[in-house]
């Protein structure tokens, strides 16, 4: 029995005490038995019973302990098993199991160790589980939204055996995909709705109605719009349908356009001066003349009402146009005439216009054709007018000047002109001005003639002024003027002769002319009373300048021509003027300045020299020109053929200073050489041009 207790950790005194108690109780029993006088057999039986009962109690305890142990083991095993299941479900490695069996503490310790782990794992599993549920719920919702048709609840049962993070991620991915799809679809739907809205606006169709026809959820501001495949498809088809309508209507529109109605509308407005307010109503139409399908976005531009409205307007305009065509043609024609009149161009179309009107009335010609023709004519006349403007202005001035001249002539003939009367000071002033102007006429004529010849040369046309060639007008004028001069001169001579005759006669008959009276007074026998003769002669003198001037102008023009001839000739002779290459300029540029300087000076040159100057100096100039030319050519290009004495020159120099002659660096370039700058072609290019022309 003792050794039973040895195993325990109970304090030994307690055991000792217990042993003594047992001993003392046995002793007491023996004492009792002694007193009672029990037999030994009885006594042994009693003791055996005692022993057996004790044993029974022990066995009982051991059994209990044993069962307890088994329970503990079971609990541990269960816990471990559960842990293992959870771990595997969560996809984690169950580390602790092995560990705990290896370092075997007591069973209770083991259990204590495993329980918190298990609890922890269970908690984590719960959390994971919730996450799964959440994700799956979302997936379910979206799937239901996107594809309600293939929704099956079975798909969304969570398999508890697989709660790994991998799986969760998978689900998350799936969710993201779905979310993306959803947003895509939403966007698509919104896009569709937008384009639908646009189309509806353009076509004038109720948008809400169209949309709710497709799906009631799409209407209004509802957030959750149905976005199943079907809806999208229906939306698309609705759009397609509307677009078709739009295209159809546009086609219609285009058809008009083909008939040029929309643009004729513009044209007609223009022609008929339709007020802007009226035009603005149709701005949408006219603006869309050139628009493509997707460019037409303005609300209502293609609504049926509006289309018929436009149609009506076009019809109205057409009718209006038909009725007004004749007026229009006349209007345009008068515009053309006016333009022609203003630019002094004579149209050859006078009768043609009449004819056109008749033809229109008879219906033989399409009035729009005539209109077009007239338009073209107007534009060409305008163009021409532009090119003629400068010259015309000058002509105006010149004409005004010659008018003044003729007035002056008239005025000079009036012998009472110096009579002080009303407004005499004004005419005097005018005469003064006119005289100044008259002196300028030759120069003006010159200038004008030069301008005209340039114009004619440029265009290869004659410059006409009210149907007459302007140059011939100018020439005529100069001739008339010359004649007038001559006439005047002859008169003067005659008068002089007469005067002499009278003087002779008077001398013959004794009556001498008074010495105080100059001869000139006699020249004007009908001189009015108060006018001093001196002034008269002065007036005559003033009248004189035009004559030499005139003569001179004529000559100067001719002389200019002459020099021109020379200018073009000489380079040709020099063999430079090949194929009209710009070298030409170079060759006579230097000749030009002196000549040009001379020409404007001539008109103001003294009268006496005028008659012979143009011929002699001109020859001089031309000589100079040639010489200049030659020199210039030499400098610019090369030595003249063989007459060079330089062979003797430079070798001698070389002989004197055999080798190192110092170079001159960047000395100032000679002025003459600068003309070489005008070379725009190399010798080879000119040579090839020459070869080709040969």
């Amino acid at each position: 029995r003792k050794h039973f207790f040895k195993m325990t950790n109970l304090p030994s005194d307690q055991l000792l005490q217990m042993e003594t108690t047992c001993g003392s109780l046995l002793y007491e029993l023996q004492v009792i038995w002694d007193e009672v006088g029990e037999t030994d057999a009885e006594r042994d039986k009693m003791l055996l019973e005692l022993e057996q009962e004790c044993l029974e109690v022990y066995r009982c305890k051991v059994d209990l302990a044993n069962r307890c142990r088994a329970q503990l083991r079971q609990a541990i095993a269960d816990a471990e098993a559960e842990l293992a299941v959870i771990c595997s479900a969560m996809g984690e490695r169950p580390v602790h199991i092995r560990q705990s069996t290896q370092n075997a503490g007591s069973l209770k310790e083991e259990l204590n160790a495993i329980t918190p782990q298990l609890e922890e794992m269970q908690k984590r599993k719960m959390e994971r589980w919730n996450q799964f549920l959440e994700v799956i719920e979302q997936i379910r919702k979206i799937t239901l939204e996107i594809r309600p048709t293939d929704y099956t609840p079975a798909k969304f049962v969570v398999d508890e055996s697989d709660l790994s993070t991998r799986k969760l991620e998978e689900l998350h991915k799936q969710l993201q995909c779905l979310q993306k799809e959803k947003s895509d679809r939403l966007k698509k739907v919104m896009d569709h709705l937008k384009s639908l809205n646009l189309l509806c606006e353009v076509l004038g169709i109720d948008f809400k109605q169209t949309v709710s026809d497709v799906h009631p959820s799409l209407d209004g501001v509802e957030v959750s719009k149905n976005m199943s495949n079907e809806t999208i498809q229906r939306l698309a088809s609705a759009i397609e349908k509307l677009r078709e309508i739009k295209l159809q209507r546009m086609q219609k529109f285009r058809m008009w356009q083909l008939q040029d109605l929309a643009s004729t509308m513009l044209e007609l407005w223009n022609l008929m001066d339709t007020p802007i307010e009226e035009q603005q109503l149709f701005q949408n139409v006219t603006r869309n003349i050139a628009a493509a399908e997707d460019e037409i976005t303005e609300p209502n531009t293609l609504s049926m009402d509006f289309l018929s409205y436009v149609e009506a307007e076009v019809l109205r305009l057409e009718q209006l146009k038909a009725s007004k065509m004749k007026d229009l043609v006349l209007k345009k024609k008068s515009e053309l005439e006016e333009l022609r009149r203003r630019t002094h161009l004579v149209g050859e179309t006078n009768c043609e216009g009449e004819f056109a009107i008749e033809a229109i009335e008879a219906g033989a010609i399409d009035p729009s054709l005539v209109l077009e023709q007239i338009e073209v004519q107007i534009s060409t006349v305008k163009e021409e007018a532009f090119s003629r403007k400068d010259i015309l202005e000058r002509v105006e001035k010149w004409l005004a000047a010659s008018e003044e001249e003729s007035w002056l002539e008239e005025y000079s003939r009036d012998e009472n002109r110096y009579n002080a009367g009303r407004g005499a000071h004004l005419t005097l002033k005018r005469a003064e001005k006119a005289r100044a102007l008259v002196t300028k006429i030759p120069a003006m004529g010159d200038n004008l003639a030069a301008k005209i010849t340039a114009w004619e040369k440029e265009r290869g046309l004659e410059f006409t002024y009210d149907g007459v060639r302007l140059l011939s007008m100018l020439e005529e004028y100069t001739i008339v003027r010359q004649e007038k001069e001559q006439e005047r001169k002859r008169q003067r001579d005659q008068k002089k002769l007469q005067g002499q005759l009278i003087a002779e006669q008077e001398a013959l008959y004794g009556s001498k002319p008074s010495p105080s009276k100059p001869q000139s007074a006699k020249k004007m026998p009908r001189t009015s009373t108060g006018v001093p003769s001196r002034r008269l002669s002065l007036g005559g003198a003033i009248m004189q300048p035009p004559k030499p001037d005139l003569l001179h102008t004529n000559k100067s023009i001719r002389s200019a021509k002459k020099t021109d001839d020379i200018g073009t000739l000489s380079p040709g002779r020099r063999g430079l003027d090949l194929a009209g290459l710009p070298v030409k300029k170079l060759s006579f540029n230097p000749a030009n300045p002196p000549r040009e300087a001379e020409t404007p000076r001539k008109p103001f040159a003294p009268i006496v020299i005028a008659s012979n100057v143009p011929s002699t100096p001109l020859r001089l100039i031309s000589n100079e020109t040639e010489e200049e030319n030659k020199n210039n050519l030499k400098t610019a290009m090369a030595a003249p053929p063989p007459k060079t004495p330089m062979t003797a020159y430079i070798p001698m120099q070389m002989a004197m200073t055999p080798a190192p002659t110092c170079l001159m660096y960047e000395a100032a370039a000679t002025v003459k050489a600068q003309k070489a700058e005008e070379f725009t072609y190399s010798f080879e290019e000119r040579r090839l041009a020459f070869c080709l022309t040969r």
């Binding site: 020099r574 020199n631 030499k634 400098t635 030595a639 080798a659 660096y665 070489a676 080879e684 020459f690």
Partner: protein, 341 residues
């Protein structure tokens, strides 16, 4: 050979072209001389033996020619074509065409390409080895600001001189655009451009008796070296006459150079020392082209009217080959430490 020419001019080649000489060049391998002419031919002479070895007739005036190797060459023709011919077989093919007359042609040994410049304002590069057919031979077309008047090559440098006094410098390895775009430092039309044999720059001559010496190096120090000088001028009775400088040829060994002008003179210059080394006696008419032989012992001179005064009677076109005396082309050592007073 029997008719003794003036000894000073050198030996005149027999059978010269019958019209103006546009260019002449010595071979890099022999004393063969290739001559292009306005008489629509390219002629090959053996300058040493004074023998005409071949003649190639073209569709139009030939404005330039160059050697490929000793046995073949290229020509630039006014009929817009670029041709290649093999001297031994007389075989001839068209490398390609420009849109206008082709003014000049160069062959680059470095790039293995033919480079042509034309009045159509382009530069074209050709691969002469390309299979026949112009679509294969054309390597590239490069727009120029104006009509091309003269080309010159050294190493990978290509200098293009055009009308309007423009000068483009290319690197042959990257032709996509000019390495340098310059304006001629001379005020007048460019006649000729030639690169220095040492590859540091180029000389450029103008119609106004002047030559500019330019350098590729764009640094300030590099550009400070450039200068221009007057030449081929005459002063007579107080009147200066200025002649175009048609030709420049560098001596392959000494780097000195000869210029030829419409005055009929050939001058030899030392560009480094800025001195004239020599002047040969006057030739009958304008100097149209100059070329030193590969060793610099011979100088070919084309005395041929260059049409500077248009169509007019002139001396017959002639080619003179003169042997070059070293003293004529060798730079004189500087009058060392102390500069001349």
């Amino acid at each position: 050979m029997s008719a003794a020419p003036p000894p000073s001019s050198g030996r005149e080649l027999a059978n010269p072209p019958s019209d103006g000489i546009s260019n002449l060049r010595f071979s890099n391998h022999s004393d063969h001389l290739l001559v292009s002419s306005w008489d629509k031919t390219v002629r090959l002479y053996d300058a040493g033996a004074n023998v005409l070895k071949g003649e190639f007739v073209h569709g139009g005036p030939v404005l330039d020619c160059c050697f490929h190797d000793d046995s073949s060459g290229f020509s630039a023709c006014a009929d817009h074509t670029v041709r290649r011919y093999v001297f031994s077989s007389g075989k001839e093919d068209i490398l390609g065409r420009h849109d206008a007359p082709v003014r000049c042609v160069e062959y680059s040994y470095a790039a293995g390409q033919v480079i042509t410049g034309s009045w159509d304002k382009t530069l074209k590069c050709w691969d002469p080895r390309g299979a026949s057919g112009p679509d294969r031979t054309l390597v590239g077309t490069y727009q120029q600001p104006e009509r091309v008047y003269s080309l010159s090559l050294v190493g990978h440098h290509l200098v293009v001189a055009t009308a309007g006094r423009r000068v483009n410098v290319y690197d042959l390895r990257n032709m996509s655009q000019p390495e340098q775009r310059r304006e001629s430092s001379l005020k007048y039309q460019t006649r000729c451009v030639r690169c220095y044999p040492n590859g540091t720059g180029f000389a450029l001559s103008s119609v106004e008796g002047r030559v500019a010496m330019e350098f590729f190096d764009l640094s300030e120090a590099g550009q400070a070296k450039k200068y221009a000088f007057k030449c081929h001028r005459k002063s007579e009775a107080g009147r200066d006459t200025v002649y175009p400088v048609n030709a420049i040829a560098f001596h392959p060994i000494y780097g000195t150079f000869a210029t030829g002008g419409c005055d009929g003179y050939v001058n030899v210059w030392d560009g480094n020392n800025k001195k004239r080394l020599y002047q040969y006696s006057k030739y009958p008419t304008s100097i149209a082209a100059l070329s030193f032989s590969r060793d610099g012992r011979l100088l070919a001179v084309a005395s041929s009217y260059t049409f500077e005064e248009g169509d007019m009677p002139h001396e017959p076109d002639a080619i003179f080959v003169r042997s070059v005396n070293e003293v004529e082309v060798k730079p004189k050592p500087k009058a060392l430490p102390t500069p001349p007073p």
